[in-house]
Symmetry: C3
Subunit: 256 residues, 3 copies
């Protein structure tokens, strides 16, 4: 199985699929789209979503192209993480998902030898898709056999900001906003334990704490734990980002 994720919108992902299907012919595996509307050129947001979504998949090759540095000298990487492999640019986007997929084992990182690709502007098609096909063909356990891959020790890391959790308060920030308008923070859901049915202060104003959206009145603000386990600022059948006045990067201070 090969999954595909990008910020390409459409129709560029189809060119990547065509390349994979042409290379692998009758042996081409299932192709599964993860998302092609990841926030454009936002490496951190993409890394967050991939860390949340990819671990639900069985062993696969994950092709990831959020690549604002395409055509510069940033490296192309293959990362082995347990039974999974990730293929994408060396800008950190692969790292958080790889750490979860490795499930405690070490990740192995390889640099791809890139030899005069057909374009400087679409390495998704000209570098990463052919590499994903080659990795799938070889098998995740045989990356050392691929002569175009060289193990590397150095690569761009990416970490999400750490929240501060104190006595009666917690400070963090909004990592991403989903399509419903839910503002997903870096605060661990556990800070809401004991407050369900009550309320907490969010940036100085009270907000009810609920197990799910529809437990607040329609159109009302709430604080909950999202499916990723983080604190989420939401509105029942509305947009939490607007109601709380936040966007990705906004500071969030909870008090109770």
């Amino acid at each position: 199985m090969i999954t595909l994720a990008s910020d390409f919108g459409s129709p560029y992902p189809a060119a990547m699929k065509g390349v994979i299907l042409a290379r692998l012919g009758d042996d081409a595996p299932r192709l599964v789209d993860v998302a092609h509307d990841l926030p454009r050129q936002d490496v951190r947001a993409a890394a967050f979503w991939l860390r949340e979504v990819l671990p639900w998949f069985p062993p696969a090759v994950h092709l990831v192209v959020v690549d604002p540095g395409v055509g510069t000298d940033r490296a192309a990487l293959v990362v082995r993480a347990g039974d999974h492999a990730l293929v994408g640019p060396d800008n950190g986007v692969l790292v958080p998902a790889a750490r979860v997929l490795a499930r405690g084992s070490e990740v192995e990182v390889f640099e791809v030898a890139v030899d005069d690709p057909a374009s400087h502007t679409f390495h998704g098609r000209d570098v990463f898709a052919p590499t994903a096909a080659a990795v799938h063909e070889a098998g995740v356990g045989r990356l050392h056999d691929l002569t175009d891959l060289a193990p590397v020790e150095e690569y761009v890391d990416l970490a999400f900001p750490e929240p501060t959790v104190g006595d009666g308060e917690a400070s963090g920030e909004v990592l991403v906003v989903d399509g419903f308008g839910n503002a997903i923070t870096n605060l661990p859901g556990s800070v809401l334990d004991g407050h369900y049915g009550g309320s907490v202060e969010v940036n100085g104003a009270d907000a009810p704490v609920r197990r799910s959206y529809a437990m607040a009145d329609r159109g009302a603000r709430l604080v909950t734990v999202g499916s990723h386990g983080n604190v989420e600022l939401a509105v029942n059948r509305g947009r939490g980002d607007e109601a709380f006045g936040v966007e990705p990067g906004s500071a969030v201070r909870l008090g109770w």
Copy 2:
């Protein structure tokens, strides 16, 4: 085959796919996206689109998650409709499609025993996707063998508003607006018989009746029958909703 429909946008549907693929392994069937941009949390609009689209599919398990009540005590359902099964929340969204898919046979409705899902906010991933996988694995004809399913007699029904068709006039409303801006009403297309090439009154103003969009002048309003068999308010290469000043729920009165 498992089809997937939701109002999730992206990337949440990929997590549902990952769950199904991980559960079913090499036996995982074809996965087909119906739509993931159904109008957000609009159960009636989703029910309409599913009723129009799902009957074109061969026998399948249809996973449907438009679920504003996620995390409340609304039940999770499996509905058997002929050779098809539908899996989703008990809010009516499955019902109109199930009635068509049953092709005259009775639908059978089962409640899913939900045992402490991983989240309160994403039952698509934590309840409905695993259920769809289990239903596919068992087979649509063996739902009584699944110990997590219990037949129920009571469930939330959903009916579209009935139009009034009289002598020289018909009254109804706009059910949904599609991406082209076509305003799809609940009026049966048969009310336009005998008027093609002529005109009818729509909310008091004349509009030409045409077999298809391009039979009106470019940019001009028209009334036609859409592919679902209902009266549609449209503009050739433009947006009917704007030209007729309507949105979902707007009253539409035709006179001739």
Copy 3:
């Protein structure tokens, strides 16, 4: 393999997939979405994108529905181009891709006998999807065996405007704008040879010429060659169309 492309948005493409899957049953091939958000009813833009994307695919049947004339007497076509077949309306949308896919051989064009389709407004579902299924079932090399297909000599052609390349200047226009805001022109990339690292005049104002986006300052304008080989007006991590004040059809004059 059958690929699908349209300007339908959602959920109409799923009805086309259902029709194909129901017709072909267990023999149904891989279905691959090329794009369903091609610019609405813009035949030229669709033709451009298909010409860029389809040639990356292995032999396939390509179902293409950008069809502002649906329900009029425009013909339905099957075009054989080498090992590929294209199915869609006779409005030119298939032609540029077919010429590339034919790789130097002649294209063969067939008209589909359309016999009272279920709707006048959705031939994607009622005419083109069943035809694509029939073509796939017969095989691209056996189109002459299909009794619903008749060879034709006359069909709607479509050509992109030709640029003028002179001594020290080149004139053309913007063909399409992609989702990143890159304005893709009809000017051949070769006109930038010798200018990389320097600049050219674009409609009277200087702009740097770079091999890729990130070689310009963040937020800065640049001129580059896109993955299609044409001159592209872009902004590093921004929208080229806005920065250069252009849209599809805008004249672009380069000087150096």
